[in-house]
Structure formats: C-alpha cells, structure tokens
C-alpha cells in the first residue's frame, strides 16, 4: 500500500470520528445537567472525590449512578445495590443484542471499547443503522465525546458541589426527552415504526403508573414484536 492511500484511509477515519462526535453533541449537551447532578449527588451521598468521579469514569451509566447514590445514602446492602443495578441496566442487554450484527465481527479491542461506550445515547445514534451502514470510527467518535462530556460535567458537579442551585427542580430532564424525541420522530416513516412508537409509548406509561419493575423492557419488547407482526401482515396482505 502506498503512502497516499494510507493517508486517505487515516483521513476518512478521522472524518468519521468527527462526524460521530458532532452527531452526539446535542445529546452530550442535554445530559450535562445530569452529569453535574451525578457528581454533586455522589459527593453528597458520602462518596469521596475519587469514588464520585469513578462512578462516572468506570460505571459510566447515568441512571445506575443516580440510583446507586440514593442507595449509598440510605445505607443499602451490597446485594440490594447489585440487584437494583441489574434491573436499571437491563435495557443495555437489548442494545447489545441489537448491535450484535454490527459489532460482534470487530476485533476484541473494538468490541470492548464500543461495548463500554454503549449508552442510551450511543444506541440512539447507531441502533437505527443497518449493519452495512455501521462505521466503527463514527461510533467511537460519538462514544468517546459523550464519555468526555459526561465526565467533565461530573467533575464540575463534584468540585462545585453544594454551590449548585437545586438542579432537580429545574426540570432539566426535559432536555433528555427532547433529544430522544428528535431522534425517534424522523425514524417514523412506515406504519410498523409508527405502531412501535405508539405501543411503546402507551405501554411504558401504563407500566410506569402501575409501578411494574422492568416496565421499560417489557414495553419495548411488546412494541417491537407487535411492529414486526404488523410488518409481516402487511407483506402477506400485499401477497408478496
């Protein structure tokens, strides 16, 4: 391989990396307040500075971190913490399953890296791609930039700590809802996708209201299977 084409390859990797970082930027901004909260809440729950940062640096899962801090504060047992973590994190199993065609053929270090970075936000960007559209550099750019933003926000939360205004009352969770809406709605281009969205929405509401644990997963699976059955029924209706 001559040097020029090697440079071209490097340039295209770099381009994809930047494209991924750019694509995840709105989501990174939307979670900044949550990052702040994750940092300050960890400190408030009795973790030291290093432990608080480690929550973001190695656990790296917003909802798990916030729930865990609540449990630290309440003095819950280790087994309670792990069982709760398992519940909160179970949706990642679904992401990992959905991304299997995209990532399982990658070399080990790519699998480990992209697996570690596989958050709601990364899945929001890459989960809708077909395996042949998937670019590992794009995913890496998105995942790393999101990781850096999350950790920087947590650090500010740890340092600023108690001086921050009451973040929970500001209603910043709307930012997360807005980004997910912005990512999902353009995907609605067919009747089955519309059905998936409507069923997931209604079911998640019902399950949340009856306080079913794991409701998120059940609502999602119900919506996915229904949408697929509708797709098959449509195909059969057209008589192929």
């Amino acid at each position: 391989m001559d040097l020029d084409s090697q440079n071209d390859l490097g340039a295209s990797h770099w381009r994809e990396l930047l494209k991924g970082a750019l694509a995840v930027t709105p989501l990174s901004i939307a979670v900044l307040p949550w990052g702040l909260l994750a940092g300050s809440f960890a400190l408030e729950s009795g973790l030291d500075v290093f432990q608080s940062q480690a929550m973001s640096a190695i656990v790296f899962a917003g909802s798990t971190q916030l729930v865990a801090c609540g449990l630290f504060k309440a003095g819950a047992s280790l087994s309670t913490m792990l069982l709760t973590t398992l519940f909160v994190t179970s949706r990642h199993l679904l992401y990992s399953l959905a991304m299997r065609p995209h990532i399982s053929k990658q070399p080990l270090r790519w699998r480990l890296l992209l697996g570690f970075l596989l958050t709601d936000e990364l899945f929001a960007l890459c989960g809708k791609q077909k395996p042949e559209q998937f670019d590992r550099w794009y995913a890496l750019g998105a995942g790393l930039w999101f990781y850096l933003c999350w950790n920087a926000a947590s650090l500010v939360g740890i340092v600023a700590g108690a001086q921050l205004p009451n973040l929970q009352e500001l209603g910043l969770d709307f930012a997360v809802a807005a980004t997910f809406i912005a990512l999902v709605i353009p995907q609605v281009k067919s009747l089955p996708v519309l059905a998936a969205v409507l069923i997931a929405g209604v079911a998640s509401l019902v399950f949340e209201l009856i306080e079913l644990s794991g409701g998120l997963i059940f609502a999602s699976l119900l919506a996915m299977v229904s949408a697929y059955l509708l797709e098959k029924a449509q195909q059969a209706g057209r008589g192929r």
Partner: protein, 104 residues
Amino acid sequence: MIWLAIILMTLVVFTSRYLFLEPKLPLKLNRHARGILAYSSAAVLTALWVPLVFIPEGELNLKLSNPYLVAALVAIVLAKATKNVLLTTVLSMLLFFGLKQWLG
C-alpha cells in the same frame, strides 16, 4: 465497601453492554429476531421519554398546563418538519423553560 460496590456495579453494567457483542456466545440471530430488533431503537427511546413527559411529578398529567407535555408536542412537530436534532432540542428546550417560568 464503597469501592467494592463501585467495581461490582461496573462489572454488572459492562457485562450487560458487552454480553451479546461477544462472537463466542453461541447465538445466531435468525430472520425473525433481526426483524424484531430492527424496531428496538424506536421502541426503547420512546419508552424512555414518554414517562418523563406524561408523568413529570409522579402522576399522569395530560393538562396543557404541563410544560413537559406542551414542549414535547412542539418537539414532535419540529422533529417531523426539520429532521434536525440540534434545532429541535434547542427550540423545544427554550419553549420548555419559557413555559415553566410563565406557568410556574
């Protein structure tokens, strides 16, 4: 104890993210499984945002005085019309904070 908990939580979270990315895991996704999983992104993301918007304070709130609901409806229209993630997010957030000030 705290460090142990952090490390064990890391393992649980990482395992849940990595498990099915492992090619040695003897699991072949057939046509149907792939077909179902094609809807996972639309389904999960919706199931994440809908409760935030409709149940902002622990109970169902379908009133137009719910800033989450109004701003979310506007976000849906914006997303449909512009297909622009950043624009949709920023405009609907501005509206949300405006409504919150005005209503609150």
